[in-house]
């Protein structure tokens, strides 16, 4: 039983799927060298016709993956920075996502987009610190934000096997997390199935990605005083509404914490759906980045813009009032 690191989990998922299915291939920048660790060793093992170091042309190789998918491949794309999803938004949202319906079901586009180190990486500042998973939730592209190495493995495997495009965000804030698991026990995690990291009876805290660990710390801190259920959706789209309904039925209270901007973020969606379809005994609260947030460079400013443990504690205490 060895400690599994987050990057190793992604690396193993890729390796296992490439061994299992010759259609799986990887495109990206510097993936031969494995700079982001996710692709370490894959070039040597599978060769350059399955591990393709691409030039700095994200838009072209993102659409190239579509063409390869139309011809039977299952490409995985690694993006070095989250904002490359802005650059390739047309290719993902307007091309890959729409092809199945537009062709009347003639084709599917099983492409997986992986962003290792999404969200703030201290010091990378404005254009390298985005966490745009809510954008893909809005356009309807399947979106996973694993909080742990085990889920990172299981969700990447499921993403690769899925018939549709899937974006997987590996939050920089979760990259240091390690799991005590027997790597032989790792298995696929279905898209759309939440995970209760900690059961509780007073309030449901829906936490996304690295913030799951903040939520768990807060739950510990409040232990005895408030019984917090920590609910990790694992995929923000599709979202496990049934699982959340069960949790809310138990607690009747809701707080969300996630690292996307406030307006039209996943926090808003969770509160909206719960208010429309479930019953709460107290008004819900969400903790997010501010509206329109741009992360400033200086560390104390960067931190000030991100959701914090303190904000979560206050929110929980407010809904318990």
């Amino acid at each position: 039983m060895t400690k599994l690191s987050y990057p190793k989990a992604l690396n193993k998922a890729l390796r296992d799927e490439m061994e299992r299915d010759p259609a799986v291939c990887v495109f990206g920048e510097d993936i031969g060298a494995g700079i982001a660790q996710v692709t370490l060793g894959l070039l040597n093992k599978f060769g350059s016709d399955r591990v393709v170091d691409t030039p700095l042309s994200e838009q072209a190789f993102t659409s190239m993956a579509i063409g390869a998918a139309l011809c039977g491949m299952r490409p995985v794309i690694e993006f070095q920075i989250p904002s490359l999803l802005f650059l390739t938004f047309e290719q993902i949202a307007n091309q890959a996502h729409k092809m199945s319906l537009m062709t009347g079901g003639q084709v599917c586009v099983p492409v997986t987009y992986v962003v290792p180190g999404s969200g703030s990486r201290a010091g990378w500042a404005g254009q390298h610190s985005d966490h745009p998973y809510s954008l893909f939730t809005h356009v309807g592209v399947k979106t996973a934000v694993p909080a742990t190495p085990t889920d990172a493995y299981g969700l990447l495997v499921s993403a690769i096997r899925d018939a549709d495009p899937v974006v997987l965000f590996a939050p920089a804030g979760a990259m240091a997390v390690r799991d005590d698991v027997d790597s032989r026990a790792l298995e696929p995690v279905p898209l759309g199935r939440a995970r209760i990291h900690r059961a509780g009876t007073d309030v449901t805290v829906v936490a996304v990605g690295h913030l799951v660990h903040e939520a768990l710390a807060v739950a510990d801190e409040l232990d005895g005083e408030i019984s917090v259920e920590v609910f990790d959706p694992r995929t923000v789209y599709p979202f496990d509404w049934d699982g959340l309904a069960a949790s809310i039925a138990k607690t009747g209270r809701l707080v969300t914490i996630d690292d996307s901007n406030r307006s039209c973020g996943i926090g808003a969606e969770i509160i909206a759906t719960v208010t429309e379809e479930m019953t709460l005994v107290a008004p819900p609260k969400r903790v997010t980045r501010p509206d329109g947030a741009v992360l400033p460079f200086a560390l104390e400013l960067d931190r000030a813009v991100q959701p914090s443990r303190e904000q979560l504690v206050t929110a929980i205490k407010t809904v318990m009032k």
Partner: protein
């Protein structure tokens, strides 16, 4: 698919008459949203596809009816698509700008200019990897030459020596913008900058287009990489049928007349006997009458299935109201 001189004429006649029929159906309201007519450019699609093998692939554009018919789709099912029927190529889900026919090697029209080129590169990459010997032809207009993603695609195809034929349909305009005001340099010069062999040919002469394509295709099949073929052509009609409703004076009558003198059907028609020509015309007329009947009597899709095929995995999307 190798075609005789008469066969080439027949294919072009099919497209010409299909497009005329489509215009009537736009006016009658049977085709909603209008079309980008291909009339005048038939020699490009037919010439290129005549040099391709059955198993070869193409990607198409917003002005794509000609490409789809030239590659071999059933005109009746194409017309059913344009009229939004369940029997259409895309089950009525795609329409004029998204027609696709995987069975015929048509990976799809694309409503975003330039967007199909890198998709074609990906298909060619997969084909090369699988050793299929397939060639992928990607059509785009002169305006497409200004889309960054298409230029990126030229680089990838050249770097990896992929079997892609970049077919530039230079019809002189991107909507109202003349080529000279939109393009610094030339189509061939851009390809050559990436080390891609490029030629400019008379896009009104189907045999010239076919021969140029055949040469590039055999190079590509030999593993010698991509090629670009710039076809000088002209659309006799509007950019889009909406143009019938608004006055746009970006072309002179003289210019239009000048090009009409070089009608690809007249040029190719002159190479076959009057009898062959008359027979082809008659056959097409009958074929399209049948296609129209088929399309207009085909069932419309059931609104309950509006989101069918949204997710290939079969996942159902939440409705717009709980």
């Amino acid at each position: 698919m190798a075609l005789s001189a008469a066969g080439l004429y027949r294919r072009m006649r099919l497209i010409r008459d299909f497009e005329e029929l489509a215009l009537r159906l736009v006016k009658s309201g049977d085709i909603v949203g209008g079309t980008h007519p291909y009339i005048g450019e038939e020699a490009v699609a037919v010439g290129v596809c005549a040099a391709l093998a059955e198993q070869d692939l193409i990607t198409s554009t917003h002005r794509g009816h000609g490409h789809v018919l030239a590659k071999g789709s059933d005109p009746a099912r194409m017309l059913a698509e344009l009229t939004g029927r369940e029997t259409g190529l895309n089950r009525g889900r795609g329409g004029s700008m998204h027609a696709a026919d995987i069975g015929q090697g048509i990976l799809g029209a694309n409503a975003i200019v330039g967007a199909a080129a890198p998709i074609a590169v990906g298909a060619a990459w997969a084909g090369q990897r699988h050793g299929t010997g397939q060639v992928v032809a990607t059509f785009f207009g002169d305006g497409g030459l200004n889309q960054g993603v298409l230029l990126e695609a030229l680089n990838l195809a050249a770097l990896w020596q992929l079997p892609v034929l970049f077919v530039c349909e230079n019809n002189g305009y991107a909507t109202t913008m003349p080529v000279r005001t939109g393009i610094a340099g030339s189509a061939t010069g851009r390809a050559e900058a990436f080390g891609i062999p490029a030629v400019t040919v008379d896009g009104m002469d189907v045999e010239v287009v076919r021969d140029a394509t055949a040469e590039a295709a055999s190079r590509a099949r030999r593993g010698d990489g991509p090629g670009l073929i710039e076809c000088l052509t002209y659309r006799f009609g509007p950019h889009h049928t909406m143009e019938y409703g608004i006055r746009l004076n970006y072309r002179t009558q003289e210019e239009i007349e000048h090009w009409r003198q070089r009608d690809p059907l007249t040029i190719q028609g002159g190479r076959i006997t009057p009898a062959e020509r008359a027979q082809a015309d008659a056959e097409i007329e009958e074929l399209l009458a049948e296609a129209e009947r088929f399309a207009l009597t085909s069932p419309r899709p059931d609104p309950a299935g509006a989101l069918d095929y949204l997710y290939a995995s079969g996942m159902a999307a939440r409705a717009g109201v709980a």
